[in-house]
């Protein structure tokens, strides 16, 4: 039984003459299907690098290849983590971004899959981003960026795309930290708060508390490197009432709460709207600043030397050091040059 050929201009169904010269529809690889690997040549096809998100092992290999920054976006499901990542990629599709040139990516297929629901090609009426599956484990998206008007070598940016479900577990249990075996290697730990929920008085306590609990869980795990920068991201910033004094006060209190939860690492706040719901602010609002934070963070003034009069701090530092020694096998696999 013949099936329609999907090739442009092929009239095999009407005339019996195949555009490619196949004697019968059954021989034609395009019959009834979209593009699939051709076997018209006699030589066997060779598998290429997949282009999808990288596994932990693949990310470790890339880290060894050159200057690499590792970013972990942490937050509940629906908070906007994946959209934050894809908005940077989408911005590069229009022009150099944030002072950088796009210099390549090993995960173009991974990016395109994640962008699809935000594109007209999906047939959707409103833009969306697919949910990151908890079953997928830890995956990394890769961007290689070079500084505009500079001969300096490009920088790899590995951004972990992790399901919100995993962060719920991390928030609730120390045991769940094993789900993030690369934590010691993270250069930027970005805690994402959902601005859409912060905007609602009946819901706003939850994202604040989630962020605080998550941050505390990470910090007290002794697995976050002292040089790791903590980026607190107020996502979906366009949903927040910018004029309301009450809203501003709540956000100020939220910032203060989170600063208290993390005193040992450099902590900064960012307001972003990766995919605003209205034409203003523009697409990827605030993302250029975030990208610069990840690739070229500002120089940090050295923190004061540990005080010998504070035994609790001494104990925590000792635990952190021994924890890093235990994690050294992971570090060895994952790290050549940290900076």
């Amino acid at each position: 039984m013949s099936t329609p050929c999907t090739r442009d201009g092929c009239t095999a169904r009407e005339t019996g003459t195949c555009l490619e010269g196949f004697a019968s529809p059954e021989e034609c690889p395009f019959s009834g299907q979209s593009a699939k690997p051709t076997e018209a040549k006699s030589d066997d096809p060779v598998a290429l690098q997949g282009g999808d998100a990288l596994t932990l092992d693949e990310a470790a290999v890339l880290c060894r290849s050159g200057h690499t920054k590792v970013v972990l976006l942490a937050g509940p499901k629906g908070s906007g983590k994946t959209t934050i990542i894809t908005s940077i990629y989408e911005s590069f599709q229009e022009a150099p971004y944030g002072g950088y040139l796009f210099a390549g990516s090993q995960t173009l297929v991974g990016f395109e899959r994640r962008c699809y629901l935000g594109r007209a090609a999906s047939g959707g009426a409103t833009a969306d981003t697919g949910r990151t599956s908890a079953n997928a484990g830890v995956q990394f998206l890769h961007l290689r960026v070079g500084r505009l008007n500079s001969d300096a070598p490009a920088t790899n940016v590995l951004i972990a795309d992790v399901s919100g479900e995993i962060f719920r577990q991390v928030r609730d249990s120390d045991e769940a930290q094993r789900l993030l075996p690369f934590l010691e290697r993270v250069d930027n730990l970005a805690i994402v708060l959902d601005g859409a929920r912060l905007a609602k008085p009946t819901e706003r306590q939850l994202p604040r508390n989630d962020a605080r609990s998550l941050l505390r869980a990470f910090v007290e795990s002794n697995r976050v490197h002292p040089a790791c920068r903590i980026d607190v991201i107020f996502a979906k910033w366009d949903r927040l009432d910018q004029e309301s004094g009450e809203s501003k006060s709540f956000l100020d209190e939220t910032r203060a709460t989170l600063r208290k939860a993390c005193t040992e690492n450099e902590l900064s706040f960012f307001e972003v709207a990766a995919r605003p719901e209205a034409p203003s602010p523009p697409f990827a609002f605030g993302m250029a600043t975030l990208l610069r934070e990840w690739v070229d963070p500002p120089t940090v003034v050295a923190k004061p030397v540990l005080s010998l009069s504070d035994p609790n701090k001494i104990r925590r530092e000792a635990e952190r050091y021994s924890s890093r020694l235990r994690g050294s096998a992971i570090l060895e696999a994952f790290d050549v040059q940290r900076y």
């Binding site: 090739r7 555009l19 490619e20 010269g21 196949f22 979209s34 593009a35 699939k36 690997p37 051709t38 018209a40 040549k41 030589d43 066997d44 096809p45 060779v46 598998a47 290429l48 690098q49 997949g50 282009g51 989408e90 590069f92 599709q93 229009e94 022009a95 150099p96 040139l101 796009f102 210099a103 390549g104 990516s105 090993q106 173009l108 297929v109 395109e112 962008c115 699809y116 629901l117 935000g118 594109r119 007209a120 090609a121 999906s122 047939g123 959707g124 009426a125 409103t126 833009a127 969306d128 697919g130 949910r131 070079g146 490009a154 859409a196 995919r275 719901e277 209205a278 034409p279 697409f283």
Partner: protein
């Protein structure tokens, strides 16, 4: 043939690779106009090139390269500095699109990429798929979208596919020397803005332009080429009136005056790639 320098012709479906070859072969073989590169003697098998050249001469659409008909072109080229034998496949653009979608390449492509000493990368002004985002939908909030839509590889923007093809070639190459790449914007007669070919790529394919510009392993040059010289329907009369067929073509590089020499991209591939 195994000693010939290998070049690659890259570009998706319908971007003018074969039309370029047809017109190029005519200029090389007929010697009607002065060209930067000449063919000092004929290669043994000229069947394919003559076939596509005949269609070009007759102002007919040059037959599109099908998957089953992929040919390898050999040329014996001569410049003031050297003589060189080159070979390059005339690939099916459909095949290259499939390669991207399936992440599988024929062993012959892998072999050609490994040995490639130059690339002609084609883009066509009318064959660019853009990443069209769904505009903001005021008032719909988080409702309205579903996860049901399945990603289609063929929906991927043109510039993403081209970047990845270049990345694949770079990855496969066994040579560390800088790779000369001639980026050819075909159907240049359709580009009415006063842009240089590089500016065209920078504006219409910005991701590709960024990738090429930031790569220290590539030695780039941009060309605008019209191998047919115009539309075969609307401009047929004007094109037929041109008595020297080689003078139909248009070649532009940077902001230099328009030339007719289709070998200028080859000259770039043969030039010293520099440090």
């Amino acid at each position: 043939m195994s000693s010939a320098t290998k070049w690659l012709l890259l570009g998706l479906k319908g971007v003018g690779k074969t039309s370029y070859l047809a017109a190029l072969w005519h200029q090389l073989e007929a010697g009607e106009i002065a060209t930067a590169v000449t063919a000092d003697y004929l290669q043994p098998d000229r069947t394919y090139l003559n076939r596509i050249r005949d269609a070009w001469l007759a102002l007919k659409e040059v037959p599109r390269t099908s998957l089953r008909a992929e040919q390898t072109v050999e040329l014996h080229l001569c410049t003031p500095e050297s003589r060189i034998e080159v070979s390059f496949p005339d690939p099916s653009g459909e095949g290259l699109s499939q390669l991207w979608a399936s992440r599988r390449a024929s062993a012959s492509f892998v072999s050609e990429a490994r040995e490639a000493k130059g690339v002609l990368l084609f883009v066509h002004p009318k064959s660019i798929r853009f990443a069209e985002r769904i505009p903001p939908a005021i008032g719909l909030g988080d409702d309205g979208a579903t996860d049901d839509a399945v990603w289609k590889p063929e929906s991927v923007p043109t510039q993403v596919q081209l970047v990845d093809l270049m990345q694949i070639v770079n990855e496969l190459r066994s040579d560390d020397a800088r790779l000369p790449v001639a980026v050819i914007v075909s159907a240049w007669d359709l580009v009415k803005d006063s842009l240089s070919p590089e500016d065209f790529v920078r504006r219409r394919l910005p991701l590709l332009w960024q990738f090429l510009s930031s790569s220290s392993s590539l030695h780039l040059a941009y060309f605008g080429v019209s191998a047919t010289g115009g539309d075969l329907g609307e401009d047929r009369g004007r094109l037929a009136d041109i008595r020297t067929a080689s003078e139909r073509v248009v070649v532009q590089q940077a902001v230099l005056p328009v030339a007719r020499d289709l070998t200028l991209p080859l000259r770039h591939l043969l030039s010293d790639a520099g440090p």
